[in-house]
Subunit: 491 residues, 2 copies
Amino acid sequence: HLLLGCDTNLKTLTLDTLNPQVKAVEYAVRGPIVIKAGEIERYLEEGGTKPFSEVIKANIGDAHAMGQQPITFLRQVVALCTFPELMDSPSFPEDAKWRARRILQGCGGHSLGSYSASPGVECIRKDIAAYIEQRDEGVPSDWENIYLTTGASDGIMTILRLLVSGKDSSRTGVMIPIPQYPLYSAAISEMDAVQVNYYLDEDNCWALDINELYRAYQAAKLHCQPRVICIINPGNPTGQVQSKKCIEEVLHFAYEENLFVMSDEVYQDNVYTPDCQFHSFKKVLYEMGPEYFNSVELASFHSTSKGYTGECGFRGGYMEVINMDPEVKAQMVKLLSVRLCPPLAGQAAMDVIVNPPQPDEHSYKQFRQEKSSVLGALADKAKLTEQILNAVPGIKCNPVQGAMYAFPRIFIPPKAVEEAKALGMQPDMFYCLRLLEETGICVVPGSGFGQKDGTYHFRMTILPSIEKLKVLLGKVRDFHIRFLKEYSALE
Amino acid sequence: HLLLGCDTNLKTLTLDTLNPQVKAVEYAVRGPIVIKAGEIERYLEEGGTKPFSEVIKANIGDAHAMGQQPITFLRQVVALCTFPELMDSPSFPEDAKWRARRILQGCGGHSLGSYSASPGVECIRKDIAAYIEQRDEGVPSDWENIYLTTGASDGIMTILRLLVSGKDSSRTGVMIPIPQYPLYSAAISEMDAVQVNYYLDEDNCWALDINELYRAYQAAKLHCQPRVICIINPGNPTGQVQSKKCIEEVLHFAYEENLFVMSDEVYQDNVYTPDCQFHSFKKVLYEMGPEYFNSVELASFHSTSKGYTGECGFRGGYMEVINMDPEVKAQMVKLLSVRLCPPLAGQAAMDVIVNPPQPDEHSYKQFRQEKSSVLGALADKAKLTEQILNAVPGIKCNPVQGAMYAFPRIFIPPKAVEEAKALGMQPDMFYCLRLLEETGICVVPGSGFGQKDGTYHFRMTILPSIEKLKVLLGKVRDFHIRFLKEYSALE
Ligand SMILES: Cc1ncc(COP(=O)(O)O)c(C=O)c1O
Ligand SMILES: Cc1ncc(COP(=O)(O)O)c(C=O)c1O
């Protein structure tokens, strides 16, 4: 290459030589809108002016970033584990201290600085199994089926990695809901699996329709081998909570078609409407009887990032894997070993979540108060968001039954659709960019999650404080009315 | 499948349907020997008897697990970040407090519980760049080239993922040293790249021989396209420290052959022999002039896990990536975004490592004392290990110039080789299993790292306390002599 006398185009790694599966990955939650939002923020900081004074980020499910305070007890335990000299400090309660001592007892050299076994610290795995048994009203949970992960993301990637070989002659199909959390589509692209979409029913509060599942499966079988079905419950971005009957149907379907089930249950503590209840896939499977419970391969995922703790930065999580072939399990443990272990502080945080203060413990009162204050506020904001959005002409929002998001459908006038297309942009991307530039509100276009052709949505979190959320929703309303007027006037 | 009336063999995911690339992965550091060691430990705990009273684990570079104490200042900063109420505590020094405040200032909602930007917290990236500039005596470092990672493992996987497509018609060759740290071979298997071995020169203190590099490259070109060269300096498992001249040769070779360079420098603070010095690949590249410095694509990796801190459980680390095509960089950031971010406590720990107490700060004296005590002990143990091993007939050990391991060559008598082969076992696996069962010492067979055909080694860490290390080495000596006698007597 020296002959050319110019090095700039001679890199080893260019867009042309980059792994094409990486190129194929899309990830909207931190995509162009968010980059633009960062630019505007910097511009404002440097004294620039806009028709608004701050960017409100409602693009990502990051509670602390929106001002939510950590649960004191959780942080006390992790701080004690981090700096055990604090065990002598009278300002830390005994119940936090004994938990920290117990966790450290399970760590190599009694230090958070040791690698743990790759599946996680043994006593934490046991606490998680006990928690699951209690949550599921006695359905047995074996601690050796529990694997700590680096956030739920890591667990999801691990299970998919086992199932998907990019080199399959009969390519692996992965069934995912549409709309979906884009980790799934990104992982599918990266691993070169086939994305098999089943559409949630917007007209029925985003419920999962079993007929649609069969349709998607049959259609997919023509060009790939569907081997796994992913369910997100409560849903992201859609906020629905699945009924027990619906979960039964999904599990029956998986049983019949011999599919591996991945149930993403990171929002299991985020259920707001009184008529809804969280049912774990594991428990429902158990109740379907031993024929099901002893055969359906199921991995379910949880995380420190959501719920009432919102500890995203800890990168804690776990998965429970049942009915996995023991030889495959050994292979999975080998795969986990290569990356050594999940972060110990995240493991400790997970332990507190599954083993919170009990009524007879000193920290119980404060813990309960903090927990219900977070969950109560989220429930209020869920309701408020739905109400305000539904009062806007041209916006229709299903109830936010759970999780942390609203995913309203927005009417975009044909003229605006045309203008977006002329710019080579998805219409809802166009809409969200305008919203950002005119109001400082950062939300993610529905196209980043998938939606029925010809429908448009955006996803916003309900995480801002109630005051900020009201401002945000008011601005969305005003913007939307302006937008409709502008593009209808053009017709 | 109901026709068969039996579910047990009808799993979706079996060894037959498992992603074959996962099956191909090997990872010895936590392989069969370590599993066996765990079994023996449990057996002893339960009151079983063996010719020894405890298992000594010298299989993994996990300092805290072997009793090394954390650096107080690092833990103070992380504890303050975790539980900011401690900012009011008089028992924490001001220099730790201001660092913690600065880190929290860079976190969303000033909380360690927020996701950071995917490349890491901005002020930590800046601190790392400043550290690199100082380490490399003024060679410029751009903070936007710094990416925090979940341990160095994660960074290494990320860069390889960009370079390797499992679907390449011309398959991607990845050059790695033999012996190597088995993360590399595992990643290569998982991604279905072609492993291109270049052998380190055992007779020359495990130096990298440039002619061997050319040989390996030319041979590989016949069946794949070598695109990247990995170097581990100081070496794991081999403990050598590369000379500046040798690094220059490697970089020149990479420049000529247009290879991406991955320099694994996680042991940059672990250099023990006075005649050796750590030279970063980046600095050497700079000194070779702008033609090199502005063109060779280089990623270098660091970690909180090694050095004098040994904070493995924090899963902290970073990579500096230079000369990467800006479009590829954008793709990499997208890929990192999918997994959201590295753990915040690990990022904070990394920040302390690159920004330790300064001479004018309160914590300096204690910090310096703790740091030099760890590094001094490691240097003593490196020397001791080499000396004792070399005094054993049939064992030959190169000097442990750096890192945390000795990789002695062991003579295994032909009769023992035969017996191992009859058992379907690598001879050094057979040796290490016998060592474990007879002495309780857990080391990893050389075959797990790669070695020249017909040579045998094991890897042991130098991390046990000096007392334990002496016991360990004495037992290895006695075992080896017994072993030689047993199998020579048979001849
Ligand atoms: C449905 C769902 N699954 C998984 C995750 C991953 O979360 P984490 O990796 O932080 O646990 C998220 C995060 O937003 C999510 O919404
Ligand atoms: C050479 C080398 N690189 C990378 C790593 C990965 O370390 P971590 O992921 O803990 O930073 C190790 C760990 O032993 C190593 O020895």
